[in-house]
Symmetry: C2
Subunit: 220 residues, 2 copies
């Protein structure tokens, strides 16, 4: 029982910091996307594509979360996009406080959209709010269509699920209909998009869906 | 600081339970393999193949760890192998106590090899001992060759890394040499095997490597 209490206290403390982040983002009209997935599902590739597609319309910043290293941040920096790398030093997720500290490295009053790429992990990141407007998850086809049934929280917490690497469908055992059905059983409002960041298939729908949300936020 | 203390206490308590498990396994001469990877890297397929290859030689039991569901345990049960499903109910890893409780569901004095398939997660499982003889990790080619540099602990803790899904190499960007070099930089003793559970390529070397370890344990 004591373990459960401890975890609850950590999550409560995190919620308070996430709310502070949210107030700051609201004040500066920054739309914040918390992007989550298993390791190697294609989050960074999606961020790169999204920047290329939307940077003429929105000022975009990125926070990269990794246990160690800065290879993803270097990929984003090559696009000329402001980016801060969080190294969690072992922690399996990004929390509100890490984002709060990372903001000191970004000129927030120059941003319309902040993308936070979480640590690659299909479990823990879904438990920690960071002050985001929406959580979006990526499920890649080589991971298998059994993932919604086995890792329910992330599917429940996300507003959209991006099925990535559809270019690999001929070579992997991934039942698109089963994955969609199981995910919708967990979260009937989940928006599902099928894309390939490699071939760019399906990405226009993602850009449009995300832009619609940013516009709705800005007009409030 | 309090958070660090709490985590340390949990890990210390877990180490004690893992040691008790280890004594039990030693008494009954059971070799225990803790199998870890990202979600969907192919752990269950590897367990199925290993059972088929080694069941004439060793009495094998399996513990399946998932947040919820029993689809993997059902796959193993179809082979006639004794299997217990752990549902962690949200927890991102298997710990010593979960294995201890799962053992009540297995006739341990009829086993030579116990395979514990951990929750799909490239981070947290590496922190928790369960009383295993060896940790083995699976890295699948679609995850990308940047994983050792980003998720070091699991590569450091494992005695073997199985690069799975080599049948997908023509279709994904995976630099085998970079993955091997980076993994060996973290752990110079790491045994690296390249396999495809789909085509069975490379699996004989795995069976032989594992059998050698089981034999060395039994002759002690």
């Amino acid at each position: 029982m004591s373990k459960i209490t401890i975890v609850k206290n950590i999550l409560d403390a995190n919620d308070r910091i996430a709310e502070e982040n949210r107030k700051l983002f609201d004040n500066e009209k920054i739309y914040v996307l918390n992007l989550m997935s298993s390791p190697g599902a294609g989050k960074t590739s999606l961020v790169e594509k999204t920047i290329e597609a939307l940077q003429s319309r929105y000022k975009i910043g990125v926070i990269e979360g990794d246990i160690q290293g800065s290879s993803d941040a270097e990929r984003i920096a090559k696009l000329g996009t402001p980016v801060v790398q969080i190294n969690t030093g072992g922690a399996c997720h990004i929390d509100g406080n890490m984002v709060h500290e990372a903001l000191t490295g970004l000129d927030t009053n120059k941003l319309d959209l902040l993308v936070v790429e979480n640590v690659g992990n299909l479990v823990c990141p879904a438990e920690f709010k960071i002050g985001e407007n929406i959580k979006v998850m990526v499920l890649s086809t080589p991971e298998g269509s059994d993932k919604p049934a086995k890792y329910p929280l992330m599917f429940q917490q996300s507003e959209a699920m991006i099925i990535n690497k559809i270019d690999l469908l001929p070579y992997v055992d991934f039942d698109v209909q089963k994955a969609k059905k199981d995910a919708l059983t967990l979260n009937r409002k989940l928006k599902i998009l099928e894309v390939s960041c490699k071939t760019s298939a399906g990405l226009k729908d993602w850009y449009e869906w995300l832009s619609d949300r940013i516009e709705a936020f800005r007009s409030n």
